[in-house]
């Protein structure tokens, strides 16, 4: 006869787990989960986490990559911010790029996503697919295409001359005053895709009756946007702002392919000066210091954004 366990039996079992129970716990709750994690964990630790720590260590040395390194404390960082005009310039360029990587794309994306969701649009998916294309291509391919468009006798200058704006024509990638902005516009052309698809998905999640109510109240398109769409997109906006700011700080592919930082040093970015210092000029410590600065800024931006979203609670 099988006796149902009484409350007291269960209590005893809980209080004094047998060897079997311990073994079972060790296998089910520790061994198996970690066995599944292990291969990825090793790979990720070896080729991402340890290199990050080593970059941090390298940043306090002066090293040419061959001879023994000499420790310099925060010397590399101090040198970067006080003496290295090229790096300071590249940092200012990154700040200017914020306009092109973050502000312009977000405004364009808000406009497009409202345009595509206000009324039932036939072919919405097709438009979304086409408009997202620039975001999928390799930045090198994008850079090659725009290098050609920007040539002195290229399509853009030709069209400008054709429509009587020939005085605006210039070597877009060879002019100290405009090249950074010419590259920035290419970045905007690439970067609006991500916020656009996020905003479209975000607006589609906003309850329709909020829009209906606004329309009953006689709200025009702009007020509807201001009072319904925009408040509903706050999560998307914060996420996108942080991602695009990070891209602005990491910008490399476009300048590397289009100008290599030229003319002069006018289109240097932090990532480009990091690459050049570490792999071309034999200043590995300094390159590491720049890498540390880029990474720190990334983490601060992500943290700020998460705090902002966290503050908004579950709303």
């Amino acid at each position: 006869m099988i006796k149902a366990p009484t409350k007291a039996d269960l209590h005893v079992k809980k209080a004094m787990p047998g060897l079997n129970a311990i073994r079972r716990y060790a296998v089910d709750k520790v061994l198996i989960p970690y066995l599944f994690l292990l291969p990825g964990l090793i790979m990720y630790t070896w080729f991402t986490i340890i290199p990050v720590i080593n970059t941090l260590l390298l940043s306090v040395y002066k090293w040419d990559g061959i001879l023994p390194a000499t420790p310099v404390g925060f010397g590399n960082f101090i040198d970067l911010f006080t003496n290295d005009t090229v790096f300071i310039g590249s940092f200012i360029n990154a700040l200017i790029f914020v306009i092109y990587y973050t502000i312009i794309p977000i405004i364009a994306a808000l406009f497009l996503s409202v345009l595509m969701t206000r009324r039932r649009i036939r072919g919405l998916t097709a438009f979304r697919t086409i408009l997202f294309v620039p975001n999928t291509l390799a930045l090198v391919v994008v850079a090659i295409a725009w290098r050609w468009l920007y040539l002195s006798d290229g399509p853009i200058n030709q069209i400008l001359k054709l429509i009587g704006l020939g005085f605006l024509a210039r070597p877009w990638l060879g002019d100290f005053n405009v090249t950074l902005h010419a590259i920035g516009l290419v970045a905007s052309w690439v970067a609006y895709g991500l916020p656009m698809v996020l905003f479209i998905a975000g607006i589609q999640k906003i309850p329709r009756d909020l829009y209906d109510a606004a329309r009953v109240d006689g709200a025009g398109a702009f007020r509807e946007f201001l009072h319904v769409s925009l408040p509903g997109l706050m999560t998307e906006l914060t996420v996108v702002a942080s991602l695009e700011l990070i891209y602005a700080m990491r910008a490399f592919d476009l300048v590397f392919t289009m100008t290599r930082g030229g003319p002069g040093y006018s289109t240097y970015t932090p990532a480009l000066s990091m690459y050049l210092n570490a792999f071309q000029y034999g200043m590995v410590g300094k390159g590491s210091a720049i890498a540390v600065i880029i990474t720190l800024i990334n983490f601060i931006l992500v943290l700020l954004v998460n705090l902002t979203i966290g503050k908004r609670g579950e709303g």
Binding site: K29, V30, P33, Y34, F36, L37, P39, G40, L41, M43, Y44, W46, F47, T48, T55, L58, L115, R118, R119, I121, F127, R128, I130, F132, P134, T136, L137, A138, L139, V140, V141, A143, I144, W146, W148, L149, L151, D153, P155, N157, W189, L194, V197, L198, A201, G202, V239, V240, D253, F256, A271, Y275, A278, V284, G287, S288, I290, A291, I294, T295
Partner: protein, 274 residues
């Protein structure tokens, strides 16, 4: 403004924006259809249409080799990173164990860390091992760099997988390994396809790892090859560079055409669902 005029204005604006999105790509495609060594100026159309520039890029520019390199690396990274991400996501999403939260945040770091933060030690590590200019120097760092996002992304998906099905499998006597590959993964096909597409496109498009780890002409990935090639040629060779750019873009465009819905929705899900 009536509904009708508003709709018309909407379509007109969307068509204009679409034109601006497509024109630069289309113009590089037109440029590539010119014969090599023709000086193409402005908006002139190719006449006659020729595939000679593609042949020149493939053979003379060594792009055949670069495309093959990129294909080997991207396919390896996608296979390896997807496999490892599935296992991590299963552990983090469907099991309860001490240290789970810590491990989760440990992987989150990898999403934020840029390649700039790892590339210098990685370069010297691979140099010391004599692995520069081998596929390992591209595959290992990019796999590691993809695992964090892949695991994070798939974990979000596995969390929504019904526990009852997992329990049912357990009652039938299936172990965790069998449950993962026989119960969860088959039902997660679209999600796995989406993450594979995203990882393929990111790996294929990467320039940074590619220019640091590829030091010989034979071991250039397509984007690196394109970037170096473009830096050395003169105006008359523009159609060849354009052809090389189109060749570099083709695999990504194909994946995008066939998987655009999964790809875009995958990116949306990966960016928002924390």
């Amino acid at each position: 403004m009536t509904k009708r005029t508003e709709l018309i204005i909407t379509y007109v604006l969307l068509v204009i924006f679409s034109f601006f999105a497509i024109y630069p790509i289309f113009s590089i495609f037109l440029l590539s259809l010119n014969q090599p060594n023709t000086l193409v100026i402005g908006t002139k159309l190719p006449n006659p249409i020729s595939l000679q520039s593609y042949i020149a890029a493939w053979v003379r520019g060594g792009f055949g080799r670069s495309i093959m390199n990129s294909m080997i690396v991207a396919v390896s990274v996608v296979a390896l990173a997807t496999f490892l991400s599935i296992m991590i996501a299963y552990s983090l999403g469907k099991m309860n164990f001490p240290g789970r939260t810590f491990i989760y945040y440990y992987f989150i770091i990898g999403i934020i860390v840029p390649y700039q933060a790892t590339i210098i030690p990685l370069y010297y590590q691979f140099k010391n091992l004599g692995l520069i200019n081998t596929y390992w120097a591209f595959i290992l760092p990019q796999t590691a760099g993809s695992i964090a996002f892949g695991a994070f992304w798939l974990r979000g998906f596995f969390l929504t997988f019904p526990d009852e099905l997992v329990d049912a499998g357990r009652v039938d006597g299936a172990g965790p390994w069998t449950i993962l590959w026989r119960v969860i993964v088959p039902s997660a096909g679209p999600a796995i396809l989406a993450i594979a597409a995203i990882l393929f496109i990111w790996t294929w498009n990467d320039l940074f790892i590619a220019i640091v780890m590829g030091q010989s002409h034979d071991m250039l990935m397509a984007p690196a090859s394109l970037a170096f090639f473009a830096g050395t040629v003169k105006g008359e060779d523009l159609p060849i560079i354009a052809a090389a750019a189109v060749l570099t873009a083709i695999p990504v465009v194909l994946i995008y055409i066939f998987l655009q819905r999964q790809y875009i929705e995958g990116i949306v899900a990966g960016s928002i669902n924390k």
